[in-house]
Amino acid sequence: MIRRVLPHGLGRGLLTRRPGTRRGGFSLDWDGKVSEIKKKIKSILPGTPCDVLPDTSHLPPEHSDVVVVGGGVLGLSVAYWLKQLENRRGGMRVLVVERDHTYSQASTGLSVGGICQQFSLPENIQLSLFSASFLRNINEYLAVTNAPPLDLQFNPSGYLLLASEKDAAAMESNVKVQKQEGAKVCLMSPDQLRNKFPWINTEGVALASYGMENEGWFDPWCLLHGLRQKLMSMGVFFCQGEVTRFVTSSQRMMTTDDEMVTLKSIHEVHVKMDHSLEYQPVECAIVINAAGAWSAQIAALAGIGKGPPGTLQGTKLPVEPRKRYVYVWHCPQGPGLETPLVADTSGAYFRREGLGSNYLGGRSPAEVSRVGWDMLARRHRIIVMKESGFWPGSVCFVHPQVQTAWAGYYDYNTFDQNGVVGPHPLVVNMYFATGFSGHGLQQAPGVGRAVAEMILEGSFQTIDLSPFLFNRFYLGEKTQENNIM
């Protein structure tokens, strides 16, 4: 009888408990609710509709401790290690600003994806060794619960560098340094080469060095995706926009030699949105320049290089984009499954791609080359290849058919082809992680950790990258790397 007296809805609510979400509490459809409320208010208020809550989801946050300019593998690696090594969980807010979310021109995606330890500088060897162990244990470093494990598609086939008579002595001393640092590299004579790889034409080859372990090639997109996923789970902010201005404050100080020097510090970054004039000023404490081939532009925004030439103020960042082409060709009678990445005496290199007799190769950019800031062309450049004599002269490819080709930029350091790492002496809170001239991808984990250590501890802790600091451009001390691919 009581049930009949009470109104229908109230009776059901009072006398029965329904399973499901608690009414009035946190609901899973928060965004939907907000838009419903906005619509209701619009319909109630007279006159023109006004946005009660303007949509700012595409803008970066107004304050951020660290702003990483450039969302390629180096920038993401620095952000990862900053969050990994911070003392307090959630203690640092990191914002990664990337101009192009499709990564269509970024060097990372267009890279051949090789990793090797055959360098002449011990620092480079150590960076590559650390990166190899990072990639090997990538599912421990970049583990995200509920996400499937990453498959880097790593081919541990090694690198084979060929040297002519005049380079043989340099190669021997390089291999000695590499073995000292712990890389597993061995030297091969032309006879041993012919035994092992009968498809090599050993004419003009005096010596070869072959990497046995921790060398090969992998999929750079997978690494990028894994880093992005892990960073999102660690709470790093991502923003698609372009950095157009740095607002700096300066301070004049006296050096010990009684010279006046102006120290600058960036306290605001203006991030402009795509296809609009809208920009967001982001207050920040530290800026990391990981903009790859375009790092010089970002450095110029901060006033680096604006001064009389020959002084520290006038020393520009000598990183410029260098285009290099990669070709994929099919050759049915080509070298077999055991083919390493072979780099010729002329600077040309090639490797296998997949199981189907496809090969991928290119040539390192020459010392001086004309570069335009045009779009990267993706046409078949058969004519260009023949003219520049690209075909790796030491391997006979019979009837190859070019399938496709693409071009990518190296962030080429015109000074000494090695990376720039660490703070700028005058713009005190800009840190560089750029200029690696073709081996940025393989050294990214090590460099990211080094920059994070520099920021958090004040000095390099694990691998000492002091030869890669910015000062060397002013002092004229070249840290030359002889093996670039």
Binding site: A143, T145, P149, P156, S157, E213, L337, G356
Partner: protein, 251 residues
């Protein structure tokens, strides 16, 4: 129920050394996993707990693969390597001796500590949790002739690239059923020129087993490669269509 999985799925509390979903029946398993994923996405506590359990599984594997190379100076490399294998649950065979296997409680006879100079001929490490670091101990056995790494869940392409120091002696290698070995790791077996028998059957991570078998056979001309029958994927031509059983057999 195909065995083809590119990479094993993390199964959270189940432990990462299971094939994780490859050979388990559908139905109940899927519902449980969906529930677990839902809880994981909505509650930080569940996510933290799963993360902690995963870390614990990984540190267990690291502990199993710790280095035993310090035993080398006291007992010689062969005993040190054999001890590592036996502790993992595998079996070893010294030259001219019988196989030494741990029983179901993990105990094994300590007689091998006396075999200082006797090299180990064969190792059966099937279903053991050997990983890249653990291979440090395995590579102490310089004169190994036969190695079986069947169904080892942590043996992957990186591990295969470490096997080249055994090139002089290794004659038989079995990788059947390893979930993480792909054709890219098989490419670095070309160092093992003395190999006479290689078993690469049942590798779920290999994308094209037939073609891989042909390429591996080309790479190792003196080796008998046991694996997939490479004709299995080929389509039959019209004249080779299987005959209807009702039709008369031509005389």
């Amino acid at each position: 129920m195909s065995l083809r999985l590119v990479a094993p799925m993390w199964n959270g509390t189940r432990g990462i050394h299971r094939l994780g979903g490859a050979v388990v029946p559908e139905g109940n398993q899927k519902k449980e996993r969906k529930m677990l994923q839902f809880l994981n996405n909505h509650f930080y506590d569940v996510e933290a707990l799963r993360g902690y359990l995963l870390q614990r599984e990984m540190s267990k594997v690291h502990l199993k693969n710790r280095s035993f190379t310090w035993l080398e100076e006291q007992h010689g490399p062969y005993s040190a390597g054999a001890f590592f294998i036996l502790k993992q649950g595998g079996a070893v065979k010294f030259r001219d001796k019988e196989w030494i296997r741990p029983d179901k409680y993990g105990h094994f006879s300590p007689e091998f500590w006396n075999f200082r100079e006797v090299p180990v001929e064969a190792v059966d490490a099937s279903d053991c949790e050997i990983n890249y670091e653990g291979l440090d101990n395995l590579l102490l056995l310089k004169e190994l002739q036969s190695l079986s790494l069947q169904r080892c869940p942590h043996v992957d392409d990186w591990c295969l690239s470490r096997l080249y120091p055994l090139a002089d002696s290794l004659q038989e290698l079995s990788l059947a059923g390893c979930p993480r070995v792909s054709e890219r790791g098989l490419a670095c077996l070309h160092h093992l020129q003395n190999l006479r028998r290689l078993d690469i059957s049942d590798l779920p991570a290999v994308s094209n087993p037939g073609l891989t078998q042909i390429l591996v056979e080309e790479m190792l001309p003196n080796c008998q490669v046991v694996g997939v029958d490479w004709a299995e994927g080929l389509k039959l031509g019209p004249e080779e269509q299987p005959q209807d059983t009702a039709s008369p057999v031509p005389a």
